[in-house]
Symmetry: C2
Subunit: 164 residues, 2 copies
Amino acid sequence: MTTDAVGRDHEAVSQFVESFAAQLVEAGMQRMPARIFAALLSSDSGTLTSAELGEQLQVSPAAVSGGVRYLAQQHMVAREREPGSRRERYRVHSNQWYEALTNREAVIKRWEHALREGVNSLGPQTPAGRRMAETLAFFEFVDGEIAQMMERWRVRREELFGAD
Amino acid sequence: MTTDAVGRDHEAVSQFVESFAAQLVEAGMQRMPARIFAALLSSDSGTLTSAELGEQLQVSPAAVSGGVRYLAQQHMVAREREPGSRRERYRVHSNQWYEALTNREAVIKRWEHALREGVNSLGPQTPAGRRMAETLAFFEFVDGEIAQMMERWRVRREELFGAD
DNA sequence: CCTTAACTTCACAAGTTTCTGAAAGAAGCG
DNA sequence: CGCTTCTTTCAGAAACTTGTGAAGTTAAGG
């Protein structure tokens, strides 16, 4: 097993990056953002520069740029400028990225909006309209529940891993 | 507004179907399954035949076949054979399809598996390994919470809409 | 058991997405 | 203020996806 000075098994890490990225793709994320994100996740510092990403993933600077833009929009990574350099570095917030995952706030709101439209188009007293109203109620319910769940997770997390 | 005998506004319904489908697409679903699903959702009986779907969505039987196969695999629709006919009909279970949505059982399990691999590849005592272990714990937590949440929803649903 | 209606599969064409190289755009540093 | 280094934008090529028509399969009903 080929390891570097700090004992990192590049081969195994790269394999993990690709397989985790594949899961993200399956869940609907675009390939390049997924690979970039997985690479960041498996870096010890949680940060990588654009050049490091390009190197590790064997892609052009343009691809990194595009992928990072998407991730930043989704609040899954933060961009930081290294002081005194034109180098940008991208960071995954260890204990916050998966909160972003469940924080589908915007997505859920859009669904709720579409469903409300549906209830109106179909008529609230039609069978289809009633089905839709029920679904809408479900999303409203889930919305509130998720917030509470994340609260419980923060408590739990502290128990398991100590203060943040 | 053009309506049929039972007062359905085809124009408005079709518009809803397309806009709801668009939301599903945005959330990662393929276009054809999304459109088929939205059409089923907005039908009063909750069922449509292959021919009806093709007609309403203006697509070939082959496209319907492919889309339905996907939806059936995801347990979002059930196939029923009309007795005494070669006609198949597809049904959305009004109060169960969105449970399927949250029932990402298989997806979550695969993520957990990938993360476990990650912890091993990176080493549980490395910073990256620890980050991954924390994420894994999060998914395990969510897994259990969702089950409880759905239980609460069933109670809530009964309050709101009566027994099923 | 043959006919026929219905669904499925498959090869391919059209459309879309994704990545690249090249050029343009910022920003540190002399 | 201009040189240099890094990032972004953009047009186009390559790869992938998606939907179609046509052929193939299944099963009802005579």
